[in-house]
Symmetry: C2
Subunit: 109 residues, 2 copies
Amino acid sequence: MGKPSDLIQGTLDLLILKTISVEPRHGWAIAKRIQQVTDEQLQVTQGALYPALHRLEQQGWIKAQWKESETGREAKFYTLTRAGAVQLRKELEQWERLSNAVGLVIRLV
Amino acid sequence: MGKPSDLIQGTLDLLILKTISVEPRHGWAIAKRIQQVTDEQLQVTQGALYPALHRLEQQGWIKAQWKESETGREAKFYTLTRAGAVQLRKELEQWERLSNAVGLVIRLV
DNA sequence: CTTCGATACCTAAACAGTTTATACATCATG
DNA sequence: CATGATGTATAAACTGTTTAGGTATCGAAG
């Protein structure tokens, strides 16, 4: 029945960039953090997460590094690059612009 | 270069339903209205518009009827059905929920 | 009288980003 | 020694968009 629709298409990059802008995190932790902050309202599935991380890395917006995680295991920690910070600003601005526009339609039609 | 990204993926159905909930409109007018209300920030291309209208009609959320437009030509006017009104409420709620969740990530990470 | 821009409909191929399903490995707990 | 949590990853299918075409009518301009 219906689709829970866990994400708004195209916002995942923004969510990831923003999440690691605070401090480097590994993929699993990024997903957990997003779910936690949104009180489980956004679900980041692995099938969306990892391709997104690779995409962002290829664009040069994030950088990976294997390190020991909180639990003592090896995990890939991602850091925001300088270009990534620029991109984050762009995506934030774009999100504000477009989501406000949707709000306009909802309110004034 | 780059993508202006005229729409947030998945919001078009909501935008259409909301737009015709005020009064029946034809496809062309729906697109124009959305662009006008958002000060051209949302662009509804025809390649997205018409498939969306047909999708919504198939779902039984909107109903088409040929009538004379403001310019004196025949145009397909779409009306919201009762099921469409229910769907609109659902989509509005979902949008609020998910866009707020994105806001949470942006603000608190 | 013909061309051009606006109005109005439509579709199809390509593309992007999901979902869903699957796989694998380690570690802690029962 | 099985199960659940942690952690990474990929592939097929699906959805919805962009991009690029196509048709037709009308009014205005040249």
